[in-house]
Symmetry: C2
Subunit: 236 residues, 2 copies
Amino acid sequence: MSASPDSLPAVCLVSGGMDSAVVLAEARALGFCAHALSFDYGQRHRQELLAAERVASALGAVDHRTVRVDLGVLGGSALTADIDVPKGRERKDIGNGVPSTYVPARNTIFLSIALGWAEVLGATDVFLGVNAVDYSGYPDCRPEFLSAFENLAQLATAAGAEEHKALRIHAPLMKLSKQGIVERGLELDVDFGLTHTCYDPVQRGPKTLACGQCDACHLRLEGFREAGIQDPVPYR
Amino acid sequence: MSASPDSLPAVCLVSGGMDSAVVLAEARALGFCAHALSFDYGQRHRQELLAAERVASALGAVDHRTVRVDLGVLGGSALTADIDVPKGRERKDIGNGVPSTYVPARNTIFLSIALGWAEVLGATDVFLGVNAVDYSGYPDCRPEFLSAFENLAQLATAAGAEEHKALRIHAPLMKLSKQGIVERGLELDVDFGLTHTCYDPVQRGPKTLACGQCDACHLRLEGFREAGIQDPVPYR
C-alpha cells in the first residue's frame, strides 16, 4: 500500500458487481475520498444499479451519482438490446472472442464520463474494476487500453492541457483472478452479499436470484469456489 | 475531394449548429452514407436538438439518433448547470483560457459514444465539426487530441483489436475560420437558416431568437459578416 493521499478526491466506477466493490474498498484503504459513479445505460440487469447504491453507501463513498447514458438507442449488445444472453457456455469458451454481452466502447464511454467528473471535482485519480479474467474477450479491459486513455486525458481536459495534471487510472484488480478478488475483498471487509453480478437475474418476491448460467455467474461462482468460500447471494 | 467511398457508413456528430451542418454536407459530398448522432446532455439551449433533426433530415442523413447523456448530474458547466453564460465579451477575449461554457470532457464523451455506434454499424469513419476558431479555449478541439483518440480507438474496440480496422476521425473544419465555414457551407448548399448556435436563446411565440451576445453568437455573426452574407436566423 502506498502512502495515504490524505483524502484526495478520486472517482470510483461502481457497477454494483463484486469487482468494483473491491476496487472502491481499495480506494478507501489507500485514503482516497471516494466519489462513486454508476451508469444507467439501458442494461437489462438493472438490479446492478440498486446494488451500486448499497455498495457505495456501505463502503463509505462520500457521494454517489448515476449518469444515464442511453446506449440502448444504438443497439448492438445482448446487455441492452433484444439479443439472448449466452447461457451454459463451457468455462473454456469464456474469454475467447468478443461475446454478445460486449457493449461497444463501453469502458471508453464510462472512462470519458469519469474524466469529466474528475475535472469538475479537481480529481486526478480514477479507479475501475477491470481485470484480466473479466477481459473475457473485451478489448477495453487491457492495460494498453488504459494507458492510451491516460494519454488521451492529458490532451482532453483543461486540467491536463493547462495545469499539466496527469490522470491516473487505477485498475488494482487487473492481474487478479476471480479467486484473488474474492480473497482481497474479504481482507478489506467487503460484504459480497450487497453486490450483484448476474446478466439475467429473476425476481422471486423480494429476492433477486442470479441465474448461475451466464458467463458472469460462471466466473463469480468459480472465484468463490476456488477461494473456498460460499457466495452469499442467492441463486435459482 | 477524395475518391467516393461508395456509400461506406460514417457516423456524423450533428449538434444542430452551423459547423456540424457543414460537416454533414462534407461527408455526404464525399459519398458517405451518413448516420447522424446528436446528444441530449442536459444543455440549456435545447433548441439545438430540434435544429439537429432539421439538419440531419435536410442534408440526407439515412438515420438520426439522439443519445441522452445526463452530464448535468455532474455539474461544472454554464451549459448544463446553473452558472451564467458569459455575455458581451470582447472578441479578443474569446479564445483565451477555458470559458465557463466548457463542458468537461465533452468531446471525449461524444467521440466515445460515436465510436460505439461506429462499431455497431461496422463504420470506420467519424465526422465532427471541431475547428481552430471554435477551439476558443476548449482543449478537446485540437488535432493532437483527435490523434490520441484515434490511437485509443484502435485499442478500445473489437474491430480495432481483432480486425485491425483503424478509426478515422474527420474534422474537415479544423483549419477553417468561421468565414471559411460559411463559404464552404454555401458551396455545399447548406441552409444555415435550419441551424441553431446561440447558448442563451429566447422564445418569442413560434420563433427562437438568438441573443447575439454570447461567445457562440459573436463567432457566428463575425463569420457571416466576413463572408459578406446575411445570417438567416433571427436575433433579438
